[in-house]
């Protein structure tokens, strides 16, 4: 399958400052790619380059097969919710969508129909004729998502879409994001600070740090590749603690075993990924040690993120 988003070695520099370097990524139709990174990592720059707001200093990219040298054609194929997007306070939601639909080539009649359909889709049908000035933050974000869809885009780019939303608003907006990928078949780039959002909604993740892509893959791949050293918190009955420590210490996949606070609580540092975890658990079973709980650390995306970006 050909990639809908195909970027090869894209970079952006301002004088001597490198905002983005060798950004290479491919996204398929129907896929949600999470773009992660600490503040100043280059996420917004990457998005602005891919959406033709900024021109790349070097490298090439294409959107739906259209090369970056034809920005106007690319803009016909993308829908974008920019970070901190502003909205004209004195327009109604419907008027705002109608305007953007017309900018994308809809006739007056079809722009009105598209605006009504999208307002319905994002749950704003009953407020379409209200001034945007009266909208809450969540309503504005949903309006922004609707605006991003006026041209039935092949690629939808959402920069921090849940910023400032309450949990219910976040859930609703992320449900919209998933539907954009699954029902519309669009490739979605979800740029966010919230790792849980990526874990729950993205098929793949890309982590940027200091303008460079430091890792890319599925959520579990990234967590597995990046989150070493991994450790586990083991709870066994207090009377079995010593036996458990001996059994674990004898296991080659275990690097270190230490008591962790209260009796029966042990921290186990593993030397490698899943097989060593399985072996550690098996050595406890073989030694007849009852396991109350075994919680693995370093397997979550947040662990990977902190390990890669050094934000911990």
């Amino acid at each position: 399958m050909s990639l809908v988003v195909d970027a090869q070695g894209v970079g952006k520099r301002y004088g001597s400052f490198v905002a983005l370097a060798d950004f290479t990524v491919g996204v398929d139709a129907g896929e949600v790619l999470g773009v992660l990174g600490p503040n100043g990592a280059g996420k917004t720059t990457a998005i602005r380059v891919l959406t033709t707001i900024l021109s790349p200093s070097h490298g090439n990219f294409s959107i739906d097969g259209v090369p970056h040298t034809r920005p106007q054609e690319i803009r016909r194929r993308i829908g974008v919710l920019p970070e901190s997007a502003g909205y004209p306070e004195r327009q109604t939601g419907e008027e705002y969508l109608r305007y953007h639909a017309r900018l994308h080539g809809h006739s007056r009649a079809s722009a009105a129909a598209v605006a009504r359909a999208l307002l319905e889709e994002v749950g704003l049908a009953d407020r379409g004729r209200s001034l945007i000035a009266t909208y809450s933050r969540g309503m504005r974000q949903r309006l922004g998502v609707a605006r991003a869809l006026v041209n039935e885009p092949r690629v939808v780019v959402l920069d921090e879409p849940t910023l400032g939303l309450d949990p219910a608003g976040q859930r609703q907006l992320l449900a919209n994001v998933r539907r954009i990928a699954t029902e519309r078949g669009a490739a979605v780039l979800l740029c966010t600070h919230l790792l849980a959002e990526v874990e729950e909604n993205c098929s793949r993740v890309l982590i940027l740090n200091r303008g460079r892509v430091v890792i890319e893959g599925t959520v579990s791949e990234v967590a597995r590749r990046a989150a070493a050293p991994r450790s586990g918190r083991l709870y066994v009955p207090a009377e079995h603690e010593e036996r458990a420590k001996i059994a674990l210490a004898a296991n080659g996949g275990v690097e270190d075993v230490q008591r962790n606070g209260r009796p029966g609580a042990i921290t186990v540092v593993l030397t490698g990924p899943e097989p060593t975890l399985n072996e550690a658990v098996r050595s406890l079973v073989d030694a007849d040690v009852p396991i109350i709980s075994f919680e693995l650390e370093g397997a979550r995306l947040s662990d990977a993120f902190l390990a890669i970006t050094g934000s911990g």
Partner: protein, 270 residues
């Protein structure tokens, strides 16, 4: 989600600049800003008309001079209003965070600039329309209403388009809206400053050159010759050279050179 991604991109049934201009006009006039500025303009013109009519009735002022004075104020203030709207049109959107959405549309930046320029020019058109009854009232009976109106619309439009283009230019390159509007206002004051010089300073070749090279003073001088001195339109047409050059230069600069530089960040560095 009924629609499916991948529908072929549409070709616009109206050019982008028409769509932008329509929305900008709606925002300006239905949003209320244009109406408020027009009301303020008509209030100012009423005061001026009252004063010149009173002076005219008391024979302190020739009727032709009364029309000329009113027309010159209308051109200056009408252009100022249009200039201020133009100076806000890019930097204002930038500050309100709405520019990025516009730049993401498949419309060239030049078309965006043209649409905004048309909307700003509508304020001058409205200002002139408001001026018509005042000129008619002050000039009736001496046969100058027609001459005053056509001179006013020609000279006023040249100056208004020049100032709007300069306002747009300033708005594109300034980092903040406040700076943009301040520079635009200062520019207008600077251009009008020679009209406040004592008449002795406007005499001689240097004084005339100063008046001629400044498109605003040259244009207003031409209006004065037609309306006050009852000259034919061709007698002093050389006074329109600098307004004509200024309008061409400023439009080329704003739309041809600067418009492609409409960006999220103001300034000239990046």
């Amino acid at each position: 989600m009924a629609a499916v991604a991948g529908a072929p991109p549409r070709r616009a049934d109206s050019p982008g600049w028409v769509v932008v201009a329509e929305q900008e006009l709606r925002d300006l006039w239905i949003g209320g800003r244009g109406l408020a500025l027009s009301v303020a303009f008509s209030f100012l013109l009423s005061v001026i008309a009252y004063l010149v009519a009173t002076n005219s009735a008391l024979n302190f002022l020739e009727q032709r001079e009364a029309v000329n004075l009113t027309l010159q104020v209308a051109i200056a203030v009408g252009s100022l209003l249009a200039l201020l709207v133009a100076a806000d049109c890019v930097s204002g959107e930038r500050e309100r965070g709405t520019l990025e959405g516009l730049l993401l549309a498949p419309v060239s930046r030049r078309q965006i600039a043209v649409g905004k320029l048309i909307a700003a020019a509508s304020l001058w058109v409205a200002a002139f329309a408001i001026t018509v009854p005042y000129v008619w009232f002050l000039g009736r009976g001496v046969g100058i209403v027609g001459d005053a109106l056509w001179t006013g619309i020609v000279v006023g439009s040249l100056l208004a388009v020049t100032l709007i283009s300069l306002g747009l230019l300033i708005s594109i390159f300034t980092a903040s809206n406040r700076v943009s509007v301040s520079i635009a206002f200062f520019l207008l004051l600077a251009l009008f400053a020679p009209t406040q010089l004592p008449s002795s300073a406007q005499q001689g070749w240097a004084g005339e050159l100063l008046l001629r090279i400044n498109p605003l003073t040259a244009g207003e001088h031409y209006v004065g010759k037609i309306v006050t001195n009852a000259h034919g339109w061709h007698e002093d047409v050389s006074w329109l050279i600098s307004p004509a050059i200024a309008v061409v230069l400023s439009v080329v600069l704003a739309l041809g050179v600067a418009a492609p530089f409409i960006r999220l960040r103001g300034g000239v560095s990046k």
